[in-house]
């Protein structure tokens, strides 16, 4: 199986739209496809990629299959960016002090 990463999940505008919709509520394949002009096959191809990236999971609920967003995957990105931002902020404060004395 091809190893996919979370960046591939969000690299495509249709997949970003699917993530935004599923962030609001879980949806059946039919309800989701109703939001797009693309064919259901095209949407299900995107869903397959999102599932392989572990961004979306599918669950049977009664007779219907539902797509759910896995929020942890998206949260990881936020945590990482916030840490990186803090690291650079700290570094630059240290650099300000150094430049003062240089």
């Amino acid at each position: 199986m091809i190893r996919r990463d979370v960046f591939q999940a969000i690299a495509d505008p249709t997949r970003r739209a699917i993530i935004t919709l599923l962030a609001l509520q879980a949806m059946t394949p039919q309800a989701l496809a109703g939001h797009f002009d693309s064919t259901r096959q095209a949407i299900s191809k995107h869903i397959k990629i999102l599932t392989e990236c572990e961004v979306v999971t599918q669950k049977q609920n009664g007779r219907e299959n539902y797509y759910y967003l896995n929020p942890d995957r998206m949260k990881d990105i936020d945590i990482w960016l916030e840490r990186l931002r803090q690291i650079w902020e700290t570094r630059f404060h240290q650099l300000d002090n150094l430049l003062n004395d240089l």
Binding site: D5, F7, A11, R83, Q86, I87, T90, F92, L99
Partner: protein, 164 residues
Amino acid sequence: MTNKFEFEANIAAKTITITREFNAPVEKVWRAFTEPELLAKWIAPKPWSVENHTLDLTVGGVSKYAMVGPEGQVHWMYDQFTAIEPGRSIATFGVFCDEEGNPNLDGSKSYTETKFFPIDDNRSRIEATHVFDSEETIKWFVEGGFKEGSAATFDQLDEALAAI
């Protein structure tokens, strides 16, 4: 007055853009980015520190150092210079390496280009574009690869503060 700092991420493009202004002429900022004894004073976010820094500022040359954490954690960083325009820009390819300096090319990689601009005689700006290639980087950070302190460190701080 705080200096302008911008940190923008374009996750879909795997790119982070950092802009920062400094109250110093561009020549000094360039030195702080390229001289190991100066880099050591700011590149590690406290309480981390830099040890064993070697730097060969030539195209193909390598900047290598150990980032040492508050609990003795050591991460060896390896940046190879891919382009240098003295006083204006530096491009690097970054990975982790072992203590002998062998780069780990299977792990996370990043590409950074830093540009230096004068604003006036005593002020300058840098713009850094950081491109990362894999999710490993995110996992590494999220799993605590670069904690700026730990619960234990904060406990010590609490104790110290309580004693004042």
